[in-house]
């Protein structure tokens, strides 16, 4: 996991700028979802969570952004990095999954969505700045979570955190996470963790958005900025 943090703060070409305020090497004017994103699977589904701050440098361009995007009936993506890049990627993924479900006659699995996303990021890694978490429910594996950091590696995980704010909460999550949590326990942990990250990371803030995905449906909620479990 420390390897992932390293990759997000050490852009490939300039080791020197790793220490600068802009860890993402964004183009001028480009929006960053410098972010906190998180996903935890539970028995029967997945909880996905994110903050809502989109920034350009020090200006908060959008303070109520929606960083959890749906790509199929039961598959969602948490986005971090360049807002433009991740939006383009999720649009492509939505298109491919739609086509695939028609060709195969069945709902795509989270594994398939993750593989497709990884393929796109890996093959275009020189032109992209995107770290995503793919999560959802399918009939084959139940709830599952895949983390795809900047370089385009793919790892299936028992839980995943990402974005600039995630570095501040590795300790918290290592301490609190246990296997086999229930839906409510998982949701509570996601909300608490994102709140703590928002409290310490300048690029994360706003409201906490969550999506709970199960076989029966997707439940999207948010916690307003004045009711956060911790902080600001």
């Amino acid at each position: 996991m420390s390897a992932h943090a390293m990759s997000m703060h050490a852009p490939r070409s300039h080791a020197a700028s790793a220490a600068s305020a802009d860890p993402y090497n964004l183009k001028p004017g480009e929006h960053s979802t410098g972010t906190t994103i998180m996903a935890i699977p539970f028995d029967g589904g997945v909880v996905m969570g994110a903050d809502s701050r989109t920034s350009t440098g020090t200006y908060i361009a959008v303070r109520v952004a929606d960083k959890i995007t749906q790509v199929h009936d039961r598959i969602w993506i948490c986005r971090s990095g360049s807002a433009a890049d991740t939006q383009a990627l999720t649009d492509y993924l939505r298109h491919y999954l739609g086509q695939l479900s028609v060709e195969t006659g069945r709902a795509p699995t989270v594994k398939t969505a993750a593989h497709l996303m990884r393929r796109m990021i890996y093959e275009n890694k020189d032109n992209l700045m995107a770290g995503v978490i793919v999560g959802g429910w399918d009939a084959v594996d139940g709830g599952s979570v895949y983390n795809i950091p900047l370089g385009g590696s793919l790892v299936k995980m028992p839980f995943a955190i990402g974005g600039s704010g995630s570095t501040y909460v590795y300790g918290l999550v290592d301490h609190k996470f246990k296997e086999g949590m229930s839906k409510d326990e998982a949701k509570a942990l996601v909300e608490k963790t994102v709140a703590h990250a928002m409290a310490r990371d300048g690029s994360s803030g706003g409201i906490i958005r969550t999506v709970v995905i199960t076989e029966d449906g997707c439940d999207k909620q948010f916690i307003p900025g004045d009711q956060l479990p911790f902080g600001p």
Binding site: T104, T109, K111, H115, A139
Partner: protein, 282 residues
């Protein structure tokens, strides 16, 4: 020295001119709406050794009657049954060289699908892709249709279901309980229809893979005419729990057992016929 006599005129078309000029290209319809080149391609398949496929309740079995072209050939060479990846097997008949291309394409499709989507190619997708590939060759003036049919035995890891498909030179592909292609396909279909394959009230009655191996061995031997046809080898493969749901050749001893049983069964059937003939005379 007198010059050589002029060559004889080409013989008049003695074969019934079904085509009458509409059969020269696969991009030509006949007035009654047929594409003769595609039909001729199917005829080419009918010259090949009989290939049989059987979807049993607990697996799929493939069998091919492989004529031994030459006594000098190594017995296991010239395979007619190929694996596409672990979960799919192809039995082919007709022009074996054409079939080779279909097998290669199937392997490419399977690998490509897994690289892109991260899961094994579903059976219906594989047969649809092969059907589309084969079909493409029926609508080009510059290309000829494949003269081969492929029987596809598959296992779908996501739904845990096994299935049997057949892809024909026309580009049609269907899912089957049992199918046959090649020389003996008509009598084979009659025999296959006698088997219990689709009992919905009591699925446990449907034929098992072990039984299926014996039956296919029997059908191939029964259809083989010792006098007219060349000596043959029987190639068989299966996809079942016993093979770990991987496409594998049926073990040699199982084939030998089944062939022995098949030959005995055929003899007994012939004796019964003789007995009943005697009774009728009496």
């Amino acid at each position: 020295v007198s010059p050589a006599p002029p060559p004889p005129p080409p013989p008049a078309r003695s074969v019934m001119s079904a085509g009458s000029g509409y059969d020269l290209s696969s991009s030509t319809f006949s007035p009654d709406g047929r594409i003769f080149q595609v039909e001729y391609a199917s005829k080419a398949v009918e010259n090949g050794g009989t290939a049989l496929g059987l979807k049993c309740r607990d697996g799929v079995v493939l069998a091919v009657e492989k004529p031994v072209l030459n006594k000098m050939l190594l017995p296991t060479s010239n395979r007619r049954i190929h694996s596409v990846d672990e979960a799919h097997g192809l039995a082919v008949t007709g022009f074996v060289a054409d079939a080779r291309q279909i097998v290669n394409r199937a392997r490419d499709e399977a690998i490509g699908y897994e690289e892109t989507y991260g899961t094994k190619i579903p059976p219906s997708v594989l047969s649809d892709r092969l059907a589309a590939y084969v079909h493409y060759f029926t609508l080009h003036g510059a290309l000829r249709p494949f003269g081969a049919t492929a029987l596809v035995a598959s296992y779908d890891d996501e739904t845990k279901e096994h299935s049997l498909h057949m892809v024909e030179p026309s580009g049609m592909s269907h899912r089957y309980f049992a199918c046959a292609a090649g020389k003996g396909r008509q009598p084979a279909k009659t025999e296959l229809e006698k088997l219990t394959l689709n009992n919905r009230e009591d699925p446990a009655q449907n034929i098992s893979v072990r039984e299926g191996v014996k039956q296919l061995a029997r059908i191939v031997h029964a259809l083989h005419d010792e006098a007219k046809d060349k000596p043959f080898e029987l190639e068989m493969s299966w996809l079942c729990e016993e093979s770990g749901w991987k496409h594998k050749g049926v073990p040699r001893d199982v084939i030998n057992e089944s062939v022995e049983w098949a030959k005995k069964d055929i003899e007994e059937a012939e004796e019964e016929d003789e007995d009943s003939d005697e009774e009728m005379e009496g």
